[in-house]
Amino acid sequence: MQVVETDVAVIGAGGAGLRAAIAVAETAPDLDVAVVSKVLPMRSHTVAAEGGAAGVIRGEDSLDAHFDDTVSGGDWLCDQDAVELFVEDAPKQLTRLEHWGCPWSRTPEGGVNTRPFGGMKIERTWFAADKSGFHILHTLFQTSLKYPSIKRFDEFFSAELLVDEGRVAGVVAIEVRTGEIWCFKAKSVIIASGGAGKVYPFTTNGAIKTGDGMAMAYRAGVPLKDMEFVQYHPTGLPGTGILLTEGCRGEGGYLTNKHGYRYLQDYGLGPPEPSPRKKAMELGPRDRLSQAFWHEMQKGNTIDTPYGEAINLDLRHLGEDKINERLPFVRDLATSYMRADPVHVPVPVRPVVHYMMGGIHTDIDARTSIEGLFAAGECAAVSINGANRLGSNSLTELLVFGDRAGKHAAQFAREAAPADNAARIDAQAEDCARKIENIYAREERKESTAELRRTMADAMEEGCGIYRDEGRIRSTCETLADLRHRLPGTALKDKSKVFNTDLLSILELENMLEVAESLAHSAYARSESRGSHQRLDHTGRDDDTFLKHSMAHYRGDQAPEIGYLDVVITKSPPGERLYGGAADAKAQKVEAAE
């Protein structure tokens, strides 16, 4: 076993992990940072984000407005202290990124341009054409190269955290190229391992989004928070799940059903207007739009495609020039993968699993309940996203909380008293190495990893989809328990040490099953409807019982235990979520009363 001693270990080299590493390097250049990532940094899924990152910059905008949009968008399940801090730091973080070279799209005068996004009242989404995540990730990665204290361990798969008496001591990882086990001994550890969309069959998430970091923290005793809140993005390409960014609608795209009708006006989002109006129609929040699709499907108004039901995203009226300038990637993706050039024809789209609002429970300094262990990015739930994330808040979240995680982890590494537990930590690392050897040693291949993965994903879609009910969630829970039980029946067909992806798929499946189980059980226990969690058997929001975060606690082979934690409310008492004309009417009423 190879041993690396470092001050701070970061698991993940996506937007959050790189931002955290840079924060350590900047605030504490004397500390060593080891960035451990299962893929090269620029392969991380932040690269796929298209639309942009939210931060108040325009004169007519305000931090309060960003706060209000985020909190009502999250159906009041956001922690408001975290949101206050987030909106305040957002423009600063985006400015830093500009200084580091991010090629943000510009206004004619040379300022940073912004575009409208769903659920946001004012244009505050900074964008780099429709490759915002790509540019953010590459800017962070390239910037990270200038700090000598950041050492990267690319293509190292983290398998387990090392934790002793409530304090983190490092992480065990497999060097993918050689199969060798490495033990990273660290004073503090930051998990920035991204989301877990791959627990579903149809998702915008890349192959690597298997919830590894969530599962590692969960097994180590940190609760997973609000896991039942899963965002379906309304506009994915049928078949592949490739995303067409919300920027399409920000630029003025329409959603129409099979009659060519802009059906969103029937779901409290109207009235329809020819050009985009913020927080109305196509620029409503994602949960509402995905739910409206489901209802249209029930009414038989959707379009039948070889890959299931769809509706149309119509961009034709924007014209070729605007599409080429603002949405070139979308045009390329739709034309290649769907054979539908949006300049000439509407593109069929359907809701697709996109983002996990839930994740590793942290406080506003990215701390978890284990000393020295921090988490940031999509794997974490601070929570600024509550029951439904607003598009373009996530990229900003990576920066704001990645930075905080880095600073606090550095501080912890500097101040923490040395722990006297080397022997116990070594034993834990040996255990982990043995677990992997045992997988190699399994002879009989009773179960196929691919088959178990498919069964899991289908069960998740069936029981924990856009609309849920008790019976179907229960049956998903049963399937997941059964799959966990069958997992040891898998074995390796590939016994090589070199780049063994057969082994990694078993480890990833184990992680996914645990994350899926926390999700399904949290969904089962929440007998109300809020944001993205919609129960057909409990259709109303129930603030008396459920204005609370769900906390899933790991219990080994058994189902998780679900507890609750109060939501932090600082200034916005729970209210009604109104969009479109209804919101205007309410605002007028308030104004008149004043």
Partner: protein, 247 residues
């Protein structure tokens, strides 16, 4: 949804077992809209879990899945099987050491990327309070296409110079250096000069243009390198031929 059987002929190599690479052919029922990557994941899930390749995004933006498909450097997630014959040959990217099957070593590229100092080196430190730089759309246009590189390495696999000259910094890394040199916010030319224009730099390029031909993102490395040669010539002229080094 039509399904058609295709023969996928894949290069296999496991350094623990094989002395030399070999080919193995799989019959794969390909759906009409599949890409080559889908055929490979089918093989891995249904036929042989030991087949080894990199992929993640499946939308041509993470740069993981570059391979030689029918002898041409290609992103396998954007190579539609319908555009190929009944038999498709898939090999690891040319010009790189093979780690296993379709996985190549990216170490050389990563080292060169870093050597090029691909980050903004500002004239003067700028604080957050100073706000964003002013950069006009025209200034952005100067670099825009060259910022689009996804580091997929297809250009290295296509480059006849890199094939022979390992010291050549190569299309993607040089383009990235050009992109920073040409950025209105940057003043780092002097720090990058030696790597950019010295041994292994832009002057090694013989302007065949194969890099731009295979680039899936229209980054135009060949153009960036040509523009870089011009900048380097001007730099040389001002430093050595102008009185006072152009200062």
């Amino acid at each position: 949804m039509t399904v058609q059987n295709r023969q996928i002929e894949v290069l296999r190599y496991d350094p623990e077992r094989d002395e030399t690479p070999r080919f193995e052919t799989f019959t794969v029922p390909c759906k009409e809209e599949w890409v080559v990557l889908d055929a490979l994941t089918y093989i891995k899930d249904e036929l042989d879990p030991s087949l080894t390749f990199r992929w993640s995004c499946h939308m041509a933006v993470c740069g993981s899945c570059g391979m030689q498909v029918d002898n041409k450097p290609t992103l396998s997630c954007k190579a539609f099987v319908r555009d190929y014959g009944e038999k498709i040959r898939v090999e690891p990217l040319a010009n790189f050491p093979i780690e296993r099957d379709l996985v190549i070593s990216q170490d050389d590229f990563m080292e060169k990327l870093q050597r090029g100092r691909p980050w903004i080196i500002p004239e003067q430190k700028r604080e957050v309070e100073d706000g964003p730089y002013v950069q006009t759309p025209m200034q952005l246009d100067d670099i825009k296409e060259h910022t689009m590189c996804i580091n997929c390495l297809l250009c290295y696999a296509a480059c006849p110079v890199y094939a022979l000259e390992r010291d050549f910094v190569g299309p993607a890394a040089l383009t990235l250096m050009y992109r920073y040199n040409a950025d209105s916010r940057d003043a780092g030319w002097d720090e990058r000069r030696e790597v950019f224009a010295g041994h292994g730099g832009v002057w090694e390029c013989s302007f065949v243009g194969a890099c731009s031909d295979v680039c899936p993102k229209h980054v135009e490395p060949a153009t960036a390198i040509q523009k870089g040669k011009m900048d380097s010539a001007v730099d040389y002229f001002t430093r050595f031929l102008m009185p006072g080094g152009g200062k």
